[in-house]
């Protein structure tokens, strides 16, 4: 299918079709790609093949997102149980991941007991470290103050940070607080200045992986599914040969590739949300599905960086694969 064909409405793959397709691949993880904002399943084994060919020369970690600890409504009365299932899957991976990243909305209402419960649960992960960034549900009453009491990455009271591991430069951002344009959240000038300074010491051949809760590209502006000043952040990242942006917030897998920058949203571990601007829904609220369907819409993502390859292997795995 050419790009033009794919853009025709009759050829667009709906989320339902994609999910039906996914359900048929029993037990399979999926690598996704996108053309014109439409998710498109490529096949079940590409990520695995990349990993196999990589041998021991790969850095593997897992992304989880949007656990919304404290949520108790019909869309998922047991979010802690969903997180536990995901952690059991991660702990059972044949290749032990180096660490886990959580791309925000750790809690549902920014309550101290929710942060505390989340932190306690995450200790069940048998990995060296869990790197978190805040979502807008983690900054409801007092900005990042409450969040940082539990999840201060460097201990210096900032919700953004960077670190290096296995030759990869990781950047964690907070794009849920500044409301420059009124309709979309933003990174803000202070954080952009920090990012510029942080990247100035990183060579352009270093793979860069960016964590940000809200997508760093505009998926659906009426629902706030974008970052007001993302273009400024992407401009700072463009000189790098391999840039991968991992986002949460929209509770579904979408991908956009722009030159050397690829951007990916992840599934949630709490509840599904509608597809961008989904007809007949009107707002980005929790979608209640039959309980047997829920586990097919929640999941985790395994990410592998293979030395010498610009493209990362991403494997999105739902909780229920059969």
């Amino acid at each position: 299918m050419s790009t033009r064909d794919r853009d025709r409405p009759e050829n667009r793959i709906t989320r339902r079709q994609a999910l039906a397709c996914l359900a048929q691949w029993s037990g399979a993880a999926v690598v996704w790609t996108v053309s014109g904002g439409v998710p498109h399943a490529l096949g079940a084994t590409r990520g695995d093949e990349m990993l196999k060919s990589a041998g021991g020369d790969a850095l593997t970690f897992v992304q989880i997102s949007d656990t919304h600890i404290g949520f108790k409504k019909d869309a998922n009365p047991d979010v802690a149980g969903s997180l536990r299932r995901a952690m059991a899957d991660i702990n059972a991976l044949p290749t032990k991941p180096a660490f886990v990243v959580h791309t925000g909305d750790v809690s549902h209402l920014s309550k101290p007991e929710e942060f505390g419960h989340a932190k306690e649960l995450l200790q069940e992960l048998r990995v060296d470290r869990v790197h978190t960034i805040p979502g807008e549900h983690d900054t409801i009453d007092d900005g990042t103050t409450g969040y940082l009491r539990y999840f201060d990455h460097d201990g210096n009271g900032k919700s953004w940070y960077s670190f290096n591991q296995a030759g990869v430069h990781f950047v964690g951002l907070n794009n849920v607080e500044n409301f420059k344009a009124k309709t979309l959240a933003a990174l803000g000038d202070e954080q952009l200045a920090w990012l510029k300074k942080d990247l100035s010491s990183v060579s352009h051949s270093t793979p860069v992986i960016v964590l940000a809760h809200i997508p760093l590209w505009t998926i659906w502006e009426p629902w706030g599914w974008g970052t007001a000043d993302s273009a400024e952040a992407i401009a700072l990242l463009r000189p790098y040969g391999s840039v991968t942006v991992l986002n949460g917030h929209i509770h579904q897998v979408l991908q956009k590739v722009e030159g050397s920058v690829s951007l990916h949203t992840a599934m949630s571990l709490a509840y599904p949300l509608p597809t961008p601007g989904q007809a007949g829904i009107g707002e980005p609220g929790p979608v209640t599905v039959a309980s047997a369907e829920l586990g097919k819409l929640l999941g985790t993502r395994q990410v592998s960086v293979v030395r010498g390859r610009h493209e990362l292997a991403l494997v999105d795995t739902p909780l229920d694969r059969a």
């Binding site: 209402l109 807008e136 009124k182 979309l184 629902w223 706030g224 707002e283």
Partner: protein, 114 residues
């Protein structure tokens, strides 16, 4: 002289009555809080007009938490879970635009004038 005094007295009494009635009417109006429902990620109604002294009550009917925060920082709620309410009494005249800080695309205005 007497008649004139009496007329003045009657006029004053009438004026008082009218004034008291007006104050009562204003108080009655002020005592009736205006309700705004937060539903489907919108403030309903999106714009309301109230008299000074009116209490406005917001009720979150969504499964998602929301807040009510004015652009001029004169009022701001904590996070409102499903069924939670927030109230604010508007004492001075003006147009008060506000947003949900969790979902800044959600906007509303309270117009306060006599």
């Amino acid at each position: 002289m007497t008649i004139r005094l009496s007329r003045t007295a009657t006029g004053a009494a009438l004026s008082m009555l009218v004034a008291v009635a007006l104050v009562c009417a204003t108080l009655a109006r002020a005592a009736e809080p205006s309700q705004i429902t937060i539903t489907k990620f919108t403030f309903a109604p999106k714009e309301i007009t109230v008299a000074p002294g009116t209490k406005v009550v917001w009720t979150n009917k969504d499964e998602t938490p929301h807040t009510v925060a004015s652009n001029d920082k004169s009022f701001a709620s904590k996070g409102l879970d499903t069924g939670d309410t927030y109230e604010h009494t508007f004492d001075r005249e003006g147009d008060f635009a506000y947003i949900c800080t969790v979902h800044p695309f959600m906007t509303g205005v309270v117009h306060v004038h006599k």
